[in-house]
């Protein structure tokens, strides 16, 4: 079969710059939408994923498996868990066992500020930095007990709806009418902890008027298994503790938010479909205006299939240009943008999956968008095509 030259298609694109611009922009918008949806999904999944090789086990009060904030583990139970369980990782005589309080609190910018700033505050001991190795202090230092000090995560300003400089080292926030000084900033890439505020465990217990902790986080030694901790909890029924693999906890969170991700994809698909239908409409008109040209090509001996391939090629080139434009815009505008949700804050992520989804949809748009109008136009008898205006 004799094919039309490759550059015939691309030269045809230049015949109507306005139409080309509309096609490229339309494709770019659809691809940008798909990129945004994929970035949202990937960002949420990343923030709700445990770090690779995670070997943490969390002990919480029975019945509080889905919300650590509701868990109340007595000090005695926490102490026994930290000392009695076999298979907990140790270094230099220090066990990787971190008692923590997870507290959803209302902070204020000043003692009499009327504005509520809802924050997730985590009360920790120094062992927290052992069980959460991805946490890294980027400025200042960790809070010390007895001083009402705080350390703010990298995305804590976005969580609170404040400018970043408001949580700079040396500034203060108020909790229950008491001033707390920010003495440090930290980051924990790819985790939900980035949107948290950390304080000393005992200080938070005092502020929250409790002597219990929310959980105990343990890191297993290399030769230990989750079942070892689960067995201990099953033996000590009096402590009413449940052992959760941290990876399983995050998997449950991902399942919980699956409907949200599904809704994002469904919305993107519906709007993309509207874009495709609009593009089809444009191409129907564009190909109809070239009826005489298409008839003449058939008279010259080119088969309908060859002409169809050329028309599809035009569409793919234009859609690809739009897809590349969208990829560049998405990278510049969307990557790293913060999104608040109930668990905290996550960042949109234009990663390889998002690019795959976006560029793939652009190429598919070019392929699928051209075929129906091209077939419709090429089915006309040659004589009728040559007579068309």
């Amino acid at each position: 079969m004799k094919l039309l030259p490759a550059d015939y298609a691309v030269r045809n694109l230049g015949r109507s710059p306005a139409r080309l611009a509309a096609t490229v922009l339309g494709s770019a918008l659809v691809v940008l939408l798909v990129l945004a949806a994929a970035a949202f999904v990937q960002g949420m999944l990343r923030s709700l994923s445990p770090p690779p090789g995670n070997r943490n086990v969390v002990l919480v009060r029975k019945g509080s498996e889905e919300s650590f904030e509701r868990s109340q583990v007595s000090a005695a139970a926490a102490s026994q868990a930290m000392s009695a369980i076999r298979g907990v990782r140790e270094a230099n005589g220090v066990r990787f066992a971190s008692p923590e309080v997870h507290y959803s609190a209302v902070l204020r910018e000043s003692a009499d500020s009327p504005r509520d700033l809802r924050a997730m505050i985590r009360g920790v001991s120094p062992a927290a930095f052992l069980v959460h190795p991805q946490v890294e202090i980027t400025e200042g230092r960790a809070p010390r007990p007895g001083r009402n000090e705080m350390m703010a995560g990298a995305l804590a300003p976005q969580k609170l709806g404040l400018p970043a400089e408001r949580l700079a080292v040396g500034r203060a926030l108020w909790l229950d009418g008491v001033e707390w000084t920010i003495v440090g900033r930290f980051d924990a890439p790819g985790t939900i902890m980035r949107s948290e505020i950390w304080t000393a465990l005992t200080d938070l217990q005092t502020a929250a008027r409790r002597d219990t902790v929310s959980c105990v986080v343990l890191t297993l030694a290399a030769d230990a298994e989750f079942a070892d901790v689960d067995a201990w909890a099953a033996t000590r029924l009096d402590l009413e503790l449940v052992a959760l693999a941290e990876s399983e906890y995050f998997a449950a969170l991902q399942r919980f938010y699956r409907p949200v991700r599904g809704m994002v994809w469904a919305t993107a698909a519906l709007i993309a479909l509207a874009g495709v239908l609009g593009g089809l409409n444009t191409l129907y008109a564009a190909f109809a205006a070239r009826g005489r040209e298409l008839g003449m090509l058939q008279c010259l001996g080119f088969r309908r299939t060859a002409i169809l391939l050329s028309l599809v090629q035009e569409s793919v080139v234009a859609a690809s240009a739009g897809a590349l434009l969208a990829a560049g815009l998405g990278w510049l505008l969307l990557d790293g943008a913060a999104v608040r949700f109930s668990m905290g804050v996550f960042e949109l992520r234009i990663d390889s999956f998002a690019l795959l989804a976006g560029l793939g949809s652009g190429l598919a748009l070019g392929l699928v968008g051209a075929i129906p109008p091209a077939i419709h136009q090429l089915r006309r008898p040659i004589a009728a095509a040559l007579k068309s205006n």
């Binding site: 067995a231 009413e240 590349l324 795959l356 560029l359």
Partner: protein, 178 residues
């Protein structure tokens, strides 16, 4: 540069990026191992599950009040106390006193005693395990094929291996399901 060449480069560039994205697509972190492989490493002792056990069994409450470490006892109870009363990867289960009312028939998991305060369930429960020579539970599961199921009434004969305030662990030698 030739306009045609520039325009033709668009799909080529898009395809190249697509290929790169295919090669490096991220995936969510894998979930932790369920220890199923470990469970296959040990076998439950033959004859563990019996059709019947002689003697009059004690209730869980009686056993917790009166049994001492090293005593050979027979207890009767219900496999339950939580939605999954077994320990994944270990030959252990929670047994609840028959005197504690389980959740109503409308509940899909009546053996979790959802309507009973947790401390009450704990007070009426003990733990059974099938231990190895080192005294630790075997890396096998009691709820495998032919084994126990949640909500099942059982009679367990064994030796008390741990006894403390609120804690009773029985090393099971024989288990009979009702």
């Amino acid at each position: 540069m030739n306009k045609s060449l520039v325009l033709f480069a668009a799909p080529a560039a898009a395809l190249a990026l697509l290929a790169a994205a295919c090669g490096g697509a991220d995936a969510p972190s894998a979930r932790a191992s369920s220890n199923a492989a470990a469970a296959a490493a040990a076998q439950l002792p033959p004859g563990l599950f019996a059709d019947a056990i002689d003697g009059v069994p004690m209730t869980v409450v009686d056993a917790k009040a009166n049994a001492a470490e090293g005593d050979e006892i027979t207890i009767i109870g219900l496999v339950g106390g939580r939605a999954n009363p077994f320990v994944a990867g270990r030959a252990m289960a929670q047994i609840v006193d028959l005197g504690l009312p389980p959740c109503g028939m409308a509940s899909a998991t009546p053996w979790d005693y959802c309507s009973v305060p947790a401390e009450e369930v704990a007070r009426h429960s003990l733990t059974i395990q099938v231990a190895g020579p080192d005294g630790r539970p075997l890396a096998a599961e009691l709820n495998g094929p032919g084994g126990l199921r949640p909500g099942q009434e059982v009679i367990v004969h064994g030796v008390v291996s741990q006894k403390a305030e609120g804690v009773l662990v029985v090393d099971a030698r024989r288990i009979a399901g009702q």
